[in-house]
Structure formats: structure tokens, C-alpha cells
């Protein structure tokens, strides 16, 4: 018996030793050291080839221009980013620079004292070349907490070839016309709309846009501030979505289709001409480009704004979308702000546009945009009477997630518009 216990004890000792050595090896890699050199970590959400190359190049260029300062980029899969970031922030081991989605998510981080106030550090070039409105998305109480990098409004991406194949000559302006297009595509044996329901937020985008059409800007602002969804426009938006879903416009297994990963994802379906349309943010061309057979941008890609509805309280032409920015954690070295200013320069912004096939935020760099779909997006964005952030971003992780899941339930036939609104109200109890 003793020999067994001896073995067990030895094993336990060995295990402890391993565990302890594991702990000591995993120190933090950021901060300044005695010789004046500065190391920073960067979390971004691009997993495509050109996207990761962009971050590698930008950080290398920055290190060259600023001797002694290195930034190490790390790619985090988009669906994992929010959870990992919160864990890192909670544990005091946050990356120095990271993607900032803004809205309620930013507000929670600011309330917890985790984000650096960069208001006074923003360079004059960034101030003049980036519109005031783009800074607003990441501003709380007149303090700027992130450098905007891209404007990413949502709308419907479509394949011009498949539209032509089905005899559709004009993009739909109203939901009724959209219904006609869906029917024509079905008649031509083309799957009308790709939807990545597995990630929930792409499905929820459909509800957001119906809400944007049904609800007035004031109602949206009230909901953002008070999480109050009592206005009946929220239910009406659910009913609009319900009747649209009833026409079965989506790929049959949309519930288990991912948004951005692989050829079977909704972006992949569009990239491979397996579906004609997808409602998505303006980052989509880059994602689609990475999923086409030759990994090049889709040549027949087009874009039109979300169709209007009759009798809604929302101003026609209103648009929804995010401004992707980058924040510095509160403990980051001061050189972090220099890096953000570097990201905002027109040269880097042009590279950003080239790598992601998405509209940059810098107005000088925007002039370099040539793709018609990106120009359409920028035109619609600049003409919009009201711009709302993505609703799940506005409401933060808790209510935002409940809203997204509620919409998926509705679309899968497991709920109704009333239940959606009540599920969102219930989520507040869990915070």
C-alpha cells in the first residue's frame, strides 16, 4: 500500500512542480523595459490572408518609424473576440491595443476604467482627415476612447450575374419589390438570400433594419439609453420580419450556417454563387473575396441599401452600421496613441482599404476607393439622415445577445414578436 501512496505523492509533487513552472513562464509580454524599448500587443479580428498580412505590415512599418517600439499583432476569430477580450480585461491582462466596436460594449469598458482616454493625443492630421461623426461613435462625455479605422454600414450585397439570370433588372427599393425579387430568383432556381444564423447577429441584422424603418430616431435613442422596448414599433418590426420570413427567402439550413467561416458560410454561399443576396456590413466584400474559388474579390458584386417600408416612423434613407475603431487599454504605454494615429494616416488607411476591400474612415483615403459597391455604400452613408450603430453593440453584451437569440428563435418558428420583446426585457434581470 505504501508504495502506491508514494507513487501518488510523487506524481502530485511532479504535477505541482509542472503547474508552478507553467505559471512563472507565462508572464506578461507588454510594457516598457529598462532600456527604453516598448512592447505592445494588438488584438484584431481578421483571419483572412490579406487581413493578417495588413496587420503584420502595419506593425512592422510602425516599428521601423519608431525604433524601440514593437507591436505584436494577434488574430482572434471574430466570434471569440468579445468573450476573450472581456476575460482579458477582467483579469488585468488586457492587450494594449484592440478592436473597439463602440456602443454599450465600449460604455461597459469605460465604466470599469479599462480604456485609455485618447482625446488629447489625437493628431491634427487625424482630426482634419476623419469626419467628426466617425469619432462620435467612440465618444462618451466628450472623451474619445478609440481611433476610428473603418466605416462599415450595412446593406444588401448581391450577385449581379444571378440577378440577371433571374431576369431582375433593378435593385429593389421597397420590401414589396424585394419580395418580388425573391420570387423571381426562386423561379429561376436560385437560392435568394444567404443567412448565417449560427452566429445569431447576421439574423438579427434583419430585425435591426426593420426596426430602423419602423421606429423613429427618438424611439431608437430612448431604447439605447433606457433599454426600453415598450414602443409598439419594436413589435411591428418583429411582425414585418415574421411575414418576410414566412416567404422562406433564406437558405434552408440558415440556422446552422455560420456567417464568415468556410465555403458553406453565408458569405461563402454568395462568394460561390450559391445564393444571390446577403444583408451584411461593409466588411463583407473582403470576407467574400477570401472565400471565392480564386480568393479574389467577387467581380459581379453589387450593393443596395435596405429597402424602405410603407408607414414606418423611421426616416427613409436611414442607415445602420458600425465604426470599427481601435482602443488602448488603460495600462498601455503612451506610445499606444502614436500607433493609433499611425493607423489613421491616409497611407495606412489606403492599405487598409486594399487589404479588407472595405471603406476606410480617412476622407483622403476614401478618394482612392474605386469599386462601385464601395462607392454606393459611401454615398448612401453620407446621404443618410440618421445613422444608428448596430443594435447589439448599442445595447451591450447582455441585452444585445438576448436580442440576437430572440430574433433567431423568431426566424426558426420558435417564438413570436411579443416573445422577442419580452425576452429582451428579461435579459436585464440577469445582469
Amino acid at each position: 500500500m505504501k508504495s502506491k501512496r508514494f507513487l501518488a505523492g510523487t506524481a502530485a509533487l511532479a504535477f505541482t512542480a509542472l503547474a508552478l513552472s507553467g505559471c512563472s513562464a507565462g508572464g506578461s509580454g507588454s510594457g516598457s523595459s529598462d532600456d527604453g524599448s516598448v512592447e505592445m500587443t494588438l488584438w484584431h479580428n481578421s483571419t483572412t490572408g490579406p487581413g493578417t498580412e495588413f496587420w503584420d505590415k502595419v506593425t512592422a512599418d510602425f516599428a521601423e518609424a519608431n525604433p524601440g517600439v514593437t507591436v505584436t499583432p494577434q488574430s482572434i476569430q471574430n466570434e471569440d473576440l468579445d468573450g476573450k477580450l472581456q476575460t482579458a480585461l477582467n483579469s488585468g491582462d488586457a492587450p494594449d491595443v484592440f478592436l473597439q466596436r463602440g456602443g454599450g460594449k465600449l460604455a461597459a469598458m469605460v465604466a470599469a476604467g479599462q480604456i485609455m482616454d485618447i482625446t488629447d493625443g489625437i493628431s491634427d492630421t487625424a482630426r482634419t482627415e476623419i469626419s467628426e461623426g466617425s469619432f462620435e461613435a467612440n465618444t462618451l462625455d466628450d472623451k474619445v476612447y478609440a481611433m476610428p479605422v473603418a466605416v462599415l454600414p450595412g446593406g444588401i450585397f448581391y450577385s449581379k450575374d444571378l440577378f440577371a439570370e433571374a431576369g431582375v433588372t433593378e435593385t429593389p427599393k421597397t420590401v414589396d419589390e424585394l419580395n418580388d425579387v425573391v420570387q423571381k430568383l426562386k423561379d429561376a432556381d436560385v437560392s435568394p438570400i444567404a443567412l448565417g444564423g449560427k452566429d445569431a447577429w447576421p439574423a438579427a441584422h434583419w430585425y435591426y433594419f426593420f426596426a430602423l424603418r419602423e421606429c423613429s430616431a427618438d424611439t431608437m435613442a430612448t431604447a439605447a439609453e433606457e433599454r426600453d422596448f415598450s414602443d409598439e414599433c419594436w413589435t411591428r418590426a418583429g411582425e414585418d420580419l415574421q411575414s418576410f420570413v414566412d416567404t422562406e427567402p433564406y437558405n434552408a439550413d440558415f440556422l446552422t450556417t455560420a456567417a464568415q467561416q468556410g465555403a458553406g458560410s453565408s458569405a461563402g454561399l454568395l462568394a460561390n454563387h450559391q445564393a444571390a443576396m446577403e444583408l451584411m456590413g461593409a466588411w463583407n466584400p473582403g470576407v467574400i473575396a477570401s472565400l471565392t474559388p480564386d480568393a479574389k474579390p467577387l467581380p459581379d458584386l453589387g450593393w443596395f441599401p435596405f429597402p424602405e417600408i410603407e408607414g414606418g416612423d423611421g426616416q427613409p434613407g436611414s442607415i445602420m452600421g458600425g465604426v470599427d475603431g481601435y482602443s488602448c487599454s488603460v495600462d498601455a504605454p503612451k506610445e499606444c496613441v502614436d500607433f493609433l494615429n499611425f493607423l489613421a494616416t491616409s497611407d495606412v488607411q489606403k492599405e487598409y482599404y486594399a487589404a479588407f476591400n472595405a471603406p476606410p474612415v480617412n476622407s483622403v483615403a476614401q478618394e482612392a476607393v474605386t469599386e462601385p459597391y464601395l462607392k454606393d455604400i459611401l454615398t448612401a452613408y453620407n446621404a443618410a439622415p440618421y445613422v444608428s450603430q448596430w443594435l447589439d453593440t448599442v445595447y451591450g453584451l447582455n441585452v444585445g445577445n438576448a436580442l440576437n437569440v430572440g430574433v433567431v428563435d423568431l426566424m426558426a418558428g420558435k417564438g413570436d414578436p411579443e416573445k422577442l420583446v419580452s425576452a429582451v426585457n428579461d435579459a436585464a434581470k440577469k445582469s
Binding site: E79, T87, K198
Partner: protein, 338 residues
């Protein structure tokens, strides 16, 4: 057990009165008497050295997190800094009133029952088959065990790709002329649970078979020989001799299966992702915990869910040990050095 005095030189000659027992069952000494005997200084050191590290790891990584989870569960806490907003039992009330949680609990119960019902009989039959002499026996044993060795993530990713609407399974069905049988295996809430059960059965049956095979090896052949001489048929022997003697193995397997089913997380999370498990009807308490705790940034609430999950598993385990496993463990605990 003669090696017991040889491993530690420092112990030689140190006569421990309780070390005499060996394998013989001796009733446990009353606490008072035990106290009186005591251990020598070196004996205590030995215990401290041998138990200390394991105890430390156990306290730090099991007991401490459980206690902290119970503590955090009483707070509304977003995870930043120390929790300050004490809410008493509000989180627990919300949990037991949340239809989504009750659904998840129901799914766990379904998985517990179906795992036993599906895997048990199949595994017994396969084990009986593999216990006979047949060609390619070891190859079949390995093949059956392979799924159990593959990582859950690989299994989940592989199956979810094959079971997609335009995946390999539907493709195969169409190619062999069974196109009418094609389904949205994962997306249709009516069959998603059965798809999950099929994957679970495929994955874990090997473990059950290996356990049962080990149990079968321990049954003396003389018994079946004697029965055969008395004229018992093969099935009578299995029914009257093998199965009853396999009882302890069956009960331990069922215990492991129940606990595993209650805590099922990885397969569901890989196949159905972060959001739609509840919509597809395959959510479990653990996926509910992650969706409503970590992914929603409600760390206080998530900890409360973890406590509920822990209590449910603990109660089931204790009840099972008390009423089902007691026969098996009764003779196993000896009065020797515990």
C-alpha cells in the same frame, strides 16, 4: 502487499499498528482510540509531504473556485473589479424561472436517459460478441474504441460538416436513391436532439464496450462451463450468469455516463455554436451557463448557474452512490490504511 515497508528507508522499523491490516477487512477504529495512538513526528511529516501537494492543488483548483462561485452567485457582477452589488438570491430565482434554463435542464435529462437506453444494450451486445473468439477481434476492438479517443472538437467539427444541409450525409442519401430521407439534421429542432444522441452514442460506445469487456474478463469461465454442462443455452448463460456478474461494471458505467450527460458541453458548443443551441433544442445547462454568463458578460449570474449545475450533479451523484453503488462499494473499503 509485502513491498509496503521497502519504499521509504526512513520508515523502516517504524511500526505502525494500523499497517497490519493489509487486505483483511477490519472495522474502523472508533475516533477516540484512533486519536490516542497518534503518529510519530516522522509519520506526520510523511503524511504532510505525500498529501500536501495533492491537497494544495485540490484546494486551489477545486474547492476554492467552488467557494468563490457560490460567493459571486449572490452578486450582480459584470466581471470588472470586485463585485459590490449584492442581490441575494435574485440570480437563483431568475434561473429557476427562466424557461430557457428549464428547457436546457429537460434536454440534460433526455440525454441522461437516452444515453443509458441507447448505449447500454448496444455496448453489452458488442462486448459479448467481442468476448468470443473470432477473427479480427483485436482490430474490431480498436475500431470501436477509436471514436472515444478522437478529441470532441474534431468529432464536433467533422460531424457538423457532414450533417450540413448540403453535406456528405445528405449527399450520400441522394446518391443511393434515398433522397426522400434527407433532412436538416442539425437545424430542424424536431430531430436535432436525435442527431446529437446518435453522435454521442457513436463517440462514447467504445468506452462502454471496453469497460464491459474488462468486466467480462473478470467472470470465471468455470461458471459458464458448469452451466453449459447442466444444459444451459448460450443466451441463458449470458442472462443468468454473465449479466448479473457484470452488474458492478454496469453500475459504474451508468454512473460515469449520467455525470457526463449532465455536464455535456463541448459537442453541443462545437456543433451548434454560441447562440443557437437553445433554438435547435440541444442546449444543456453548461451551454446555457456559457451563453448567459460569459458571452453575455453576466459573471455573477453565470456563477449562480454554475452553482445550480454543481448542486444538481452532486445530488444525483450522492443519491446514485447511496442507493445504487452501495452494494459495490460496501466490501471494497477495507479497514486497512485508508
Amino acid at each position: 502487499m509485502t513491498v509496503r515497508e521497502s519504499s521509504l528507508p526512513g520508515q523502516l522499523g517504524q511500526a505502525d499498528p494500523r499497517a497490519q491490516g493489509g487486505g483483511v477487512a477490519v472495522p474502523a477504529a472508533p475516533p477516540a482510540a484512533r486519536k490516542g495512538r497518534g503518529l510519530g513526528w516522522s509519520g506526520r511529516l510523511e503524511v504532510a509531504i505525500l498529501v500536501g501537494p495533492a491537497l494544495l492543488v485540490f484546494l486551489a483548483f477545486v474547492i476554492y473556485p467552488v467557494v468563490m462561485a457560490a460567493y459571486y452567485g449572490f452578486f450582480s457582477w459584470q466581471g470588472f473589479g470586485a463585485p459590490t452589488d449584492f442581490v441575494g438570491f435574485r440570480n437563483y430565482l431568475t434561473i429557476i424561472q427562466d424557461p430557457t434554463f428549464l428547457e436546457a435542464l429537460g434536454h440534460n435529462a433526455t440525454i441522461v436517459v437516452l444515453s443509458l437506453v441507447l448505449q447500454g444494450p448496444i455496448a453489452i451486445l458488442v462486448a459479448l460478441l467481442l468476448n468470443r473468439k473470432l477473427r479480427g477481434q483485436s482490430l474490431i476492438r480498436v475500431l470501436i474504441f477509436v471514436p472515444y479517443v478522437i478529441s470532441e472538437v474534431v468529432v464536433g467539427t467533422g460531424w457538423s460538416l457532414m450533417l450540413q444541409g448540403n453535406g456528405a450525409v445528405n449527399g450520400l442519401l441522394e446518391k443511393v436513391g434515398l433522397g426522400t430521407l434527407t433532412q436538416d439534421w442539425l437545424a430542424n429542432p424536431d430531430i436535432a436532439m436525435w442527431t446529437l444522441m446518435a453522435i454521442i452514442t457513436w463517440k462514447y460506445i467504445g468506452f462502454a464496450v471496453i469497460l464491459f469487456l474488462a468486466g467480462l474478463q473478470g467472470i470465471p469461465e468455470e461458471l459458464s462451463e458448469a452451466a453449459a454442462i447442466d444444459g444451459a443455452s448460450y443466451w441463458q448463460i449470458q442472462r443468468r450468469i454473465t449479466l448479473p456478474l457484470l452488474g458492478p461494471t454496469l453500475r459504474i458505467w451508468a454512473f460515469l455516463s449520467i455525470i457526463g450527460s449532465l455536464q455535456l458541453f463541448d459537442l453541443v458548443y462545437i456543433i451548434w455554436g454560441q447562440y443557437i443551441a437553445s433554438t435547435a433544442g440541444t442546449s444543456t445547462m453548461a451551454t446555457y451557463l456559457v451563453a448567459n454568463g460569459r458571452n453575455s458578460g453576466n459573471y455573477g449570474y453565470g456563477n449562480a448557474v454554475a452553482v445550480v449545475l454543481f448542486v444538481i450533479s452532486l445530488v444525483v451523484a450522492l443519491v446514485y452512490q447511496r442507493y445504487v453503488l452501495n452494494r459495490d462499494t460496501a466490501g471494497a473499503i477495507t479497514g486497512g490504511k485508508k
